[in-house]
């Protein structure tokens, strides 16, 4: 087939995760049409968080570049930025939840609220899942592991990061436009 094992694994995983978000989106669009729906005002913090995720992807892209040139230093910097901004993103999301609850948008008060928390929480969980893989890859990099796997692992990690950004953009768009 021309794909490596890691690629098949990650691409299949991304398909499965996409199905999950497709279902949530489907339920959201279905529920949106009921008369008790009151849209949630999107905290402007979410734009900042989106920026963090973009920076995280940029970091990973940098790391991939470094991997292609076998430049260990670039890889380390790229990975660090990628991981750091992913954490910043998740923290920013939890801060946004706090902001919403203090302004009275409780999770059970309205279906739109519930969906907001559910959607952002599910996405954040998958980002954190990616952090587990990031941890493993970063550990090996910092141990100066130059096995044949490294460029591929970093590439796949980057793919997953970009994928998480893409999913976020679509979900964010959904929340903004409805």
């Amino acid at each position: 087939m021309g794909l490596t094992h890691g690629q098949v694994f990650v691409y299949t995983l991304m398909t499965v995760i996409s199905i999950l978000f497709l279902f949530v989106t489907n339920a959201y669009l279905f529920r949106m049409n009921f008369e008790d729906w009151r849209s949630v005002p999107i905290p402007s913090l979410l734009w900042v968080n989106t920026g963090s995720l973009v920076l995280a992807s940029a970091g990973m892209a940098w790391a991939i570049n470094g991997a292609k040139k076998s430049d260990l230093q670039t890889i380390k910097v790229g990975l660090a930025i990628g991981g750091l901004f992913a954490i910043v993103f998740v923290s920013g999301q939890t801060w946004a939840w706090q902001q919403l609850t203090t302004s009275g948008f409780f999770i059970a008060a309205n279906p739109a609220n519930t969906f907001f928390y559910l959607i952002t929480a599910l996405h954040a969980l998958h980002v954190l899942g990616g952090m587990a893989a990031w941890f493993y890859v970063t550990l090996k990099t910092f141990k100066q592991d130059t096995s044949i796997l490294q460029p591929e692992s970093i590439g796949l990690l980057g793919t997953y990061w970009h994928y998480m950004l893409l999913v976020w953009v679509m979900l964010f768009g959904l929340l903004l436009l409805t």
Binding site: M1, L3, T4, H5, V8, F9, T12, L13, T15, V16, I17, I19, L20, F23, V24, A27, F30, R31, F34, D36, I107, A108, P111, T114, L118, L122, I148
Partner: protein, 571 residues
């Protein structure tokens, strides 16, 4: 495994036997846990049968307990026994061996998938020990009742532990599933293109594909149900008046849960059926000493079944209150899926024509599978036909149908598979006489249990009833039948211990099997050592020259030619 990947070697007792990354050990681990929890599920069904057959005999079986038994029996059997055993057990053992690979593509993730499965079983079992007891919401867990008082386990930890356990199981399944997809696509031996894979590998591959795409629907439904229960949100909860007051919910749709559940639930039954089909294809051709008939059509039929499986789900919802015009669509797709399924049955049966059939225990199980799957599949045509489903849905006709097609025939296939591959795993044969006794009691017994249920279904006896006493339209003869069925169930239940006894005794003292006791063509019998050692193939990976069904090949002396034998070497 990929080119150049080093085979993982265990360093000590823990990594050899407990946290093993060898697919064969992991397969055994899955099998043992699945069989253990399956026995629990069987015990629960016997409790149910005691109430139905001899109401009042055991005072401790009250309506609450009864529904807890019903629910846990169903969920355990479908998910924790059948899915785990077919995919985790058979899948893990057979995929690398039959493909000529040393192990799965990601042995570490494989090991993790078992332990996460084990964790899901532990969480499930915990629900038996909490104050509310396990959930009694029915295996389908429909809201609103599944999270409201009035259903056992709903206002305690019971339902939460169930949903949590399912979520953990789904994570395990996803890990295992990604492994299988990657291994089948990437790790085949040289010369083994997709159309030279044994049919069981196709079945396991497509079942995995079904699961990866279907389980997310259940996960979403479960998460939303947890939210509704814990955070009092209203994904599925409309306005509810209960206990004399209007509850704090509103606006949700119970039917939405059903759509999510059955989008998962229907593919789930094919996740169980497909590996069973695969086992039958392997066993029937090997023990009839004849090539499987119509390999290409078998593959296309499997692909068609896997595809159509995603567009039939609402046949579980014909009278659920969804738009009735959807009934036309789903009835049509449901009856269409009967066609590729029928083709598979024809092909198995035609395999027997002009064959040279050995009446071994695995062959007996194949034949019994065919007869019972015929019954189960044909009764499905009644239920799929939307108008006919009106009088029959939620009656014992449904109970009879799904047990025939999910419990009886796949379990017969499963047993056949266990008898067939036991020599590969242990190097010894299972005792033949005990096998035949176990077979006959199980086959005839389960037929007697489930066949009559269809007729009380025609009468209109509803399912999930703790007792029928109050209803005049249900005659005393139904109670007599329930007694008869209970007695059969007790006998069949007891007979399963013959299999367990056979396992234990034969593993220790069984007749030595040699490397290929059945004369099979597939690669798992062509290893250097028997049972296969770690890494399966020694120094050289096998090369494949033919399809897996060269039984009765004209021009060869033996009545079979294994896949890794080139033409020049045929005697």
């Amino acid at each position: 495994m990929y080119e150049g990947q080093a085979l993982y070697h265990p360093k000590g007792w823990w990594t050899r036997y407990v946290f093993s990354q060898d697919h064969k050990v992991i397969a055994l681990q899955y099998t043992c846990v699945a069989l253990a929890i399956g026995l629990t599920g069987m015990f629960l069904s016997l409790l149910m049968r005691m109430q139905l057959g001899f109401p009042g005999l055991f005072e401790s079986i009250d309506a609450g307990n009864y529904y807890q038994d019903v629910t846990m029996h169903g969920m355990i059997m479908v998910i924790y026994l059948l899915t785990a055993l077919f995919l985790g057990g058979f899948g893990n053992y057979l995929i690398p061996l039959m493909l000529g690979s040393r192990d799965m593509a990601f042995p570490f993730v494989n090991m993790l998938s078992f332990w996460v499965y084990f964790l899901s079983v532990i969480i499930l079992v915990c629900s038996f020990f909490v104050e509310s007891g396990p959930t009694g919401a029915g295996w389908t867990l429909y809201p609103p009742q599944s999270i409201l008082p009035g259903t056992p386990g709903a206002d305690g930890a019971g339902i939460l532990l169930m949903l949590g356990s399912l979520a953990v199981f789904i994570i395990a399944f996803t890990m295992g599933g990604l492994n299988y997809i990657t291994t089948v696509l990437q790790s085949r031996a040289k010369g083994m293109n997709m159309m030279r894979m044994p049919l069981i590998i196709w079945c396991l591959f497509l079942a995995t594909f079904l699961g990866l795409l279907a389980f997310p629907a259940l996960l979403v439904g479960a998460i939303m149900l947890i939210f509704d229960r814990v955070l009092e949100t209203s994904f599925f909860m409309p306005e509810i008046f209960k206990g004399g007051e209007v509850l704090n919910y509103g606006g949700g749709s119970p039917v939405l849960f059903q759509h999510l559940f059955w989008f998962f639930g229907h593919p789930e039954v094919y996740i169980i059926a497909l590996p069973a089909f695969g086992i039958i294809s392997e066993l029937i051709s090997c023990h009839a000493r004849k090539n499987i008939f119509g390999y290409n059509m078998m593959v296309w039929a499997l692909i068609a079944i896997a595809g159509i499986a995603f567009i039939v789900w609402a046949h579980h919802m014909y009278v659920a209150g969804m738009n009735p015009y959807l009934g036309f669509f789903f009835a049509t797709t449901t009856l269409i899926i009967a066609v590729p399924t029928a083709i598979k049955v024809y092909n198995w049966v035609i395999t027997l024509w002009n064959a040279n059939i050995k009446m071994t225990v695995p062959m007996l199980y194949c034949l019994a599978f065919l007869i019972t799957f015929l019954i189960g599949g044909l009764t499905g045509l009644f239920l799929g036909n939307v108008a006919v489903d009106v009088p029959l849905s939620d009656t014992y006709f449904v109970v009879g149908h799904f047990h025939m097609v999910m419990a009886v025939s796949p379990v017969l296939a499963l047993y056949g598979g266990l008898y067939h591959w036991f020599p590969s795993v242990t190097g010894r044969m299972l005792d033949d006489r005990l096998g035949k006794i176990h077979f006959w009691i199980t086959f005839v017994g389960t037929y007697l249990i489930y066949f009559p249920m269809h007729y009380i279904g025609f009468l209109g006896v509803p399912r999930r009833y703790y007792s029928n006493e109050q209803y005049d339209f249900i005659p005393q003869s139904v109670n007599d039948l329930n007694q008869f069925i209970t007695i059969c169930a007790l006998i069949v239940g007891a007979a399963q211990f013959i299999l367990l006894y056979n396992f234990v005794v034969s593993a220790v003292r069984g007749k030595e099997a040699g490397s290929n006791p059945w004369g099979a063509c597939t690669l798992e019998w062509q290893t250097l050592e028997s049972p296969p050692g770690h890494g399966n193939w020694g120094d050289k990976l096998p090369v494949v020259y033919r399809w897996p069904y060269d039984y009765g090949l004209p021009g060869a002396t033996d009545d079979f030619v294994p896949q890794n034998v080139p033409d020049e070497q045929i005697t």
